[in-house]
């Protein structure tokens, strides 16, 4: 147990060191004034929205895979599942928070919304509006999954009905994430902020 704990501390330290190094290199060598100047805040929000959506893509895909393992009754490493489901819900929350903020330049005069409404309103209606709402579905679903995995813990291994509930939640998180992410990617290809 002692060895396990020290390994965990070592891994976390290495990861923090690597993240710090990467951040320093980016700050020193990137054209950060483009990110931080002018309409800086919107660019930062966009960057973080994309970053957390990317993380959420990874966690929700793992969640989708775990859902099938849970569904068929495979033995689960509860610690991994609990940490993963928490990260999934947290990435989802941050994606939505930053997504809200980039809605401001999207709706602003001369922004993509007015462009789409003038040229092809169905793109705003179908692509954007549907995406913005189905994207929100993921938060209560991911939070419910994380909560249940954490509070029921090992009971999950013996309770088939509980496993069904959590599998359904994780599959739905992935499903609605894919809709929102796919439509969001399509919109940025048609006209970015």
């Amino acid at each position: 147990m002692e060895m396990r704990r020290s390994n965990k501390a070592l891994i976390i330290s290495i990861l923090l060191f690597m993240a710090g190094t990467a951040l320093s290199i980016i700050l020193v060598s990137s054209p950060s004034e483009k990110l931080l100047g002018g309409e800086a805040i919107h660019r930062l929000h966009m960057a973080f929205h994309g970053l957390f959506a990317g993380i959420f893509m990874v966690t929700s895909t793992i969640g989708f895979y775990q859902a099938f393992r849970i569904w068929i009754g495979e033995a689960i490493r509860m610690g991994e599942l609990q940490v993963g489901s928490f990260l999934n819900a947290f990435a989802c929350f941050l994606t939505i928070v930053f997504g809200n903020q980039i809605y401001i330049p999207y709706r602003a005069a001369g922004g993509p919304r007015s462009y789409f409404l003038e040229t092809s309103p169905e793109i705003h209606k179908i692509f954007f509006e549907f995406k913005e709402f189905t994207g929100l579905f993921t938060l209560p679903l991911a939070v419910a999954a994380a909560y249940l995995i954490c509070v029921y813990g090992e009971r999950l291994n013996d309770n088939k009905q509980l496993r069904e509930i959590i599998s359904v939640l994780l599959i739905l998180v992935f499903f609605y994430f894919v809709i929102a992410f796919g439509l969001g990617a399509a919109i940025t290809k048609l006209k970015s902020i």
Binding site: Q101, I104, R107, K125, E132, P140, A144, I165
Partner: protein
């Protein structure tokens, strides 16, 4: 939420999924309402402005999120208190949950609005 739930039963799990479904369904219904009534849309936008940073620029979407969030968390609290020591029929709960999510998705699908004349 009190921690005196009986986790040998499914009640706490059923409360969590039904409240998530309820919040999602309220989101869809509020959106439908704002598409139908401008007064309702303004009211909903004002609710977003009460607390959300940048709500003025975000528009009525901020209020829709606010109402859905309150509906989700409040219904979770209430359902958790009702179900914490018991459980409802698992099959029925799953059917209600999936039906609610499907209904919310349908209500938000833009061609559905068009079919209603909006």
């Amino acid at each position: 939420m009190k921690n005196s739930a009986n986790f040998e039963k499914l009640g706490a799990a059923q409360a969590a999924i039904l409240s998530a479904m309820f919040g999602i369904l309220i989101l869809a219904l509020v959106h439908l309402g704002t598409e139908i009534s401008e007064v309702f849309e303004t009211t909903i936008h004002n609710m977003g402005k009460l607390w959300m940073p940048g709500a003025e620029g975000i528009g009525p979407y901020s209020g829709k999120e606010t109402v859905a969030l309150v509906a989700w968390l409040l219904s979770w609290l209430i359902l958790h208190r009702i179900l914490r020591a018991k459980e409802w029929n698992h099959r029925n709960v799953i059917i209600i949950f999936l039906a609610g999510i499907a209904l919310a998705t349908t209500l938000l699908w833009p061609p559905f609005f068009s079919s209603l004349g909006h």
